[in-house]
Amino acid sequence: MGVGNGGDGAAGAIPGPPPSSLSSPSSPSRRTRREVTLGLLASGVALAAAPLVAASRPPRPASDPFGAPGGTAAFQETYRGRLIRGAWTPGTGPAGTGQWQVTVDGRPLHLMRRADGTWLSMVDHYQSYPTPLEAARGAVDDMVPGQGLRDVAPGPVGDADRHAHPYSHTQGVPGGVHA
């Protein structure tokens, strides 16, 4: 029960060129300095080999409980001088839920899902993006040059026993909130 079981990153990364085909709320001028370096993440990611898909693939609907991206489940690029990497790892839970692990310059960027399937990051909490990649770019847009991410995520909210919920975990980077 519950909308969008925790961590089922179903939005599907839309990788690589041509940049103009990537849906984004930003204006074209923001893309001029971006260098796209695409690569599949190799070992360390528990994925079956997945083919790259065309950049025009639409995001997966939020109602897909399994969230297997089907197409590309990883992205890597240098954007505004920062290395963005993301990988979708299938879960080991009963519903096969998985989650996206995204890093900016090697540090985790915690993402959260909206009910409409879009994504928020810890850096930008008041608007959402169609894909984890775009959420990561949006985060980089709002980070100060020279500063890095901290490992920060929301904690468990409220009484765990309250209305016992079958999927009671939240997607997040282990470690909770650090000063």
């Binding site: 029960m1 899902r113 909206r114 810890m122 959402s128 909210v157 409220g158 919920h165 939240t170």
Partner: protein, 288 residues
């Protein structure tokens, strides 16, 4: 005896000084950073699982009402004359308006790194180092109006669109509802760009910098903004006499929102108070 919360544009110089000094004192004591942590912890979303309290839920308004009361109590322990002022962004709409003044919140961030360099909360002045944050940055940042792709603050008409809705909130009680006062005020929309965020969300975007992320409480404008939103709840209640917080009863086990939102008579974490108990706070404060 109820105390008053005032429009920040109408504070006397003395009131401004006392408000700022009380904030700096609770920061110095370490109390302020606890509020930053709490807000990070309680921002859960409707596409994940678990209970939602502070955002994307009906309890957005009572949660922040209580959150502001806690901050205000902390300030009043330092100086019992202090109350949280509100920022009416339908009127004070430019980057040099109140509250962006040297003796209040300080001004905009500078171009190079969006660092706030004026006013009491400028890192360089030594009294406002960010300790709890989404990044390892130590200084407060702002980008008023979003310089790279300018936007405007919400207008009086946008606010009115929320106020005129007679329903407090409705199923599925999340960020996708297009009717109801709560989400029209909180401001989650769909689609891209300017049309996708309104009122509360738009203001966070307009201020930018620190106010954009999970650690938005690091910018004291957070309190002035939420006081104005809290005032809208009071206005809405007066306009729609008898209209109550919804849902009155929790969703049942067959409902996708079961266990995910707080109903009128349920306790609102992290406190023991219920939304019902927070609907009328007229014996504590009133807005002037």
């Amino acid at each position: 005896m109820a105390y008053t919360r005032k429009n920040v544009a109408k504070l006397t110089r003395e009131e401004r000084r006392r408000f700022v000094d009380a904030l700096l004192e609770i920061k110095r004591r370490g109390e302020y950073d606890e509020f930053v942590r709490t807000h990070i912890q309680y921002f859960t979303t409707d596409g994940e699982s678990g209970l939602r309290t502070a955002h994307m839920a009906p309890s957005f308004l009572p949660w922040h009402r209580r959150f502001l009361l806690d901050l205000e109590r902390a300030l009043r322990r330092v100086d019992s004359s202090v109350t949280i002022p509100y920022w009416d962004w339908t009127r004070d709409r430019t980057t040099t308006s109140v509250p962006w003044r040297e003796d209040l919140l300080g001004g905009n961030g500078r171009r190079a790194d969006r660092q706030v360099t004026t006013g009491p909360f400028a890192y360089a002045h030594g009294h406002w180092t960010l300790r709890v944050g989404v990044t390892d940055g130590k200084f407060l940042t702002r980008d008023l109006g979003r310089s790279r792709d300018p936007i405007a603050l919400p207008t009086g008409s946008e606010l009115e669109r929320a106020l005129e809705d007679p329903l407090y909130d409705l199923a599925p009680w999340d960020s996708t509802v297009s009717k109801g006062f709560r989400n029209k005020l909180e401001g989650w929309g769909s689609g891209r760009g300017s049309s996708s965020w309104h009122n509360h969300n738009r203001v966070h975007r307009w201020v930018g910098g620190t106010m954009l992320g999970a650690a938005s409480v690091n910018d004291p404008v957070f309190w002035l903004h939420h006081a104005f939103l809290d005032l809208q709840w009071t206005r809405w209640q007066r306009r729609h006499r008898g209209a109550r917080y919804l849902p009155a009863r929790p969703p049942g086990p067959g409902d996708p929102q079961y266990g995910r939102i707080v109903a009128r008579h349920e306790k609102l974490p992290p406190w023991d108070v219920t939304p019902d108990e927070l609907e009328d706070v007229s014996r504590i404060y009133r807005y002037v």
